[in-house]
Each structure stands twice: as C-alpha cells, then as structure tokens.
C-alpha cells in the first residue's frame, strides 16, 4: 500500500512540520485517515499529504576537505576568546 507523508500546521502562518505518515490505498483513504489521526483533537490548522515517492530525498554529503569554517556552527573560538580575555586583563591600564 502507498505511504503518504503527513505534514501538519499547528497555527495559521506557521511552517508545516512533518507529523508522521499514513499507509492508505489512495488519496481518499489517506485523507479520511489523516483527518482522524492528526486532526480530530483540533490540533491542526491544516495538513499536507504527500505521496512518499514524491519526496526527493538528499542524504549524501561530500566534505572531503573538512571545510568546517563554511558551516554555520563554524569552528571553536573558545580558546581564542580565553586568550584574548587574559591579554586584556594583563594589559596595563590606559591613563586617560
């Protein structure tokens, strides 16, 4: 049986988030079942049902040269910060 991925919007204007899936023979069944599973307690503003085969997934990532400075988390500057603080403390006071 086909699998439909279910995306749920909790409140108007919010981004849809993956909620789970339903296994159903067609869209009509998927809709009826998703309504009951993901909407019967008023917990959803809207649902998106997407046939799993329509999902184009990307799971492989090349990072051969360890270019971690390009990532959002960057590299650790903890050590450098510590060093800078120590330098600032040991520097002579500036007479204004």
């Amino acid at each position: 049986m086909p699998i439909f991925e279910v995306f749920r919007q909790e409140k108007k204007g919010q981004a849809f988030a993956h909620a789970g899936s339903v296994e159903a023979p067609d869209e009509a069944f998927a809709e009826a079942w998703a309504r009951e599973q993901y909407g019967r307690r008023g917990e959803s503003e809207a649902l998106w049902l997407v046939p799993r085969e329509a999902v184009h997934a990307i799971t492989d990532w090349a990072d051969e040269f360890d270019l971690k400075y390009r990532r959002v988390d960057g590299y650790s500057i903890k050590a450098r910060l510590k060093e800078a603080r120590e330098r600032a403390q040991s520097a002579p006071a500036v007479d204004r």
Partner: protein, 214 residues
C-alpha cells in the same frame, strides 16, 4: 413521555449503541489507520448520544449517564440495526454506510424542523457527521460490487429501514439505490436477542455500585 422525548431517546440510543458496537473494533480493525479512524468515529457517536441525552434530561430529569445506563433493557429505543453484533468487516461497513445515510436524512429533517433547540443540536452534530459520511461512503464505494459486501447490504437493508419513520424511507431507498418494496422493515420498538449481552456489559459498572461517583 412526550413525542419529543421519545424521539430524542431514539436517536440518542441509536448513537450510543452503535458507538458501543463500533468500538468493539478497537485494536482489531483491518489496518492501524482504520483502527484509529473507526474508534474515533465510534467516540464521536457516543458524544452525540451524550448531547441528546442531556437535552432529553431537561424534560425527563436525571442526567445523560442516568438515561444512558440506568434504564431497563426494554426501555431502550434504539433501532435493531445498531444492536447487531457484527464482527465481520463487510457487514460492519454495510451497517455504517446504511446508518449514516439514514441518519443524514433524519438530521436534515431535524435541522429544517420547528424545534429550534433540536435543530441547533442537529446542526452541531451534522458538522461531525460530514466526516463520518465521507468515511462510510468511501468504504462503500471501495467495496462496491464485492459479493460479500452486496450480500451484507441486502441482509441489513430491512434493518436500515427501521431506523427511519415510514415517511422518510423512500428517500433512503432513493439515496442508497435499494428497493423499498422488497423489504419489510425491522421496526424500532422490538429488540434483537443481541442487545441483552451488550446492555449487561455496558451497565455493569453502574449497577455494581449504584450512585458511585468518580
């Protein structure tokens, strides 16, 4: 008892007993998804019963629980259709579909009626029933001409007619495409032998400690 109270109890008993019967599928429906959906619909029906009992209680006294659980077996007003113990999917869907079609006609009549309080409640119930109908019609369409399903529909048709008063039955025949004249209805007011076991189980806790609250 007034005609209005009799009508309220008839519909409430239908919803309560069918909700009970359908909840017997919880955990064993054909697929996990259907299990969740079917159980949810059964709960909705029992919720409708509660609202109808509460309205009836304003005239009859007591409360929804008392009307649902404290009456004698013979005082229940449900149609024989909802009493049948049908743990077979083709029959279960046949009953769900026939009941929803009949219930739809009944709700439409109440919504259009002069009793504004009842019309308001019917409209409220109808907003949930929309999804029950989608579910039932989807299954009926899917099973369509399967011999097992057709046989179940034919078998339950006289019972389905018994859900409605005589004047609303031609409309049920029209909507379901079934023949009115071939069936003598199994009328409300009689009970099948299968209701007793259900009643015993359903009222057991209330009977074992009368007046208990929790």
């Amino acid at each position: 008892m007034s005609e209005r109270s009799l009508l309220l109890l008839s519909i409430a008993d239908d919803e309560l007993i069918l909700g009970w019967r359908d909840s017997e599928w919880t955990g064993i429906a054909p697929t996990l998804e259907e299990d969740v959906a079917f159980s949810s619909i059964a709960q909705n029906e029992i919720g409708h019963a509660r609202a109808l009992y509460e309205l009836a209680a304003t005239e009859l006294g007591g409360d929804a629980d008392a009307l649902a659980f404290d009456r004698a077996l013979d005082d229940y007003r449900c149609a024989p259709l909802v009493e049948l113990h049908l743990l077979e999917w083709a029959h279960t869907i046949a009953r769900r579909w026939l009941y929803e079609e009949a219930d739809w006609i009944r709700i439409e009549a109440l919504k259009a009626g002069d009793d504004t309080e009842l019309a308001g409640l019917a409209a409220k119930i109808d907003r949930e029933e929309v999804y029950h109908r989608i579910h039932a019609q989807m299954w009926a369409h899917r099973l369509g001409d399967e011999p097992r399903f057709r046989a179940a529909v034919e078998e339950l048709w006289p019972y389905a007619l018994g859900v409605l008063p005589a004047e609303l039955r031609p409309e049920l025949a029209r909507r379901t495409g079934l023949q009115l004249e071939t069936a003598g209805a199994v009328e409300r007011g009689t009970h099948t032998s299968e209701l007793e076991a259900l009643w015993n189980e359903m009222t057991e806790v209330r009977r074992s400690v009368p007046g208990a609250t929790w």
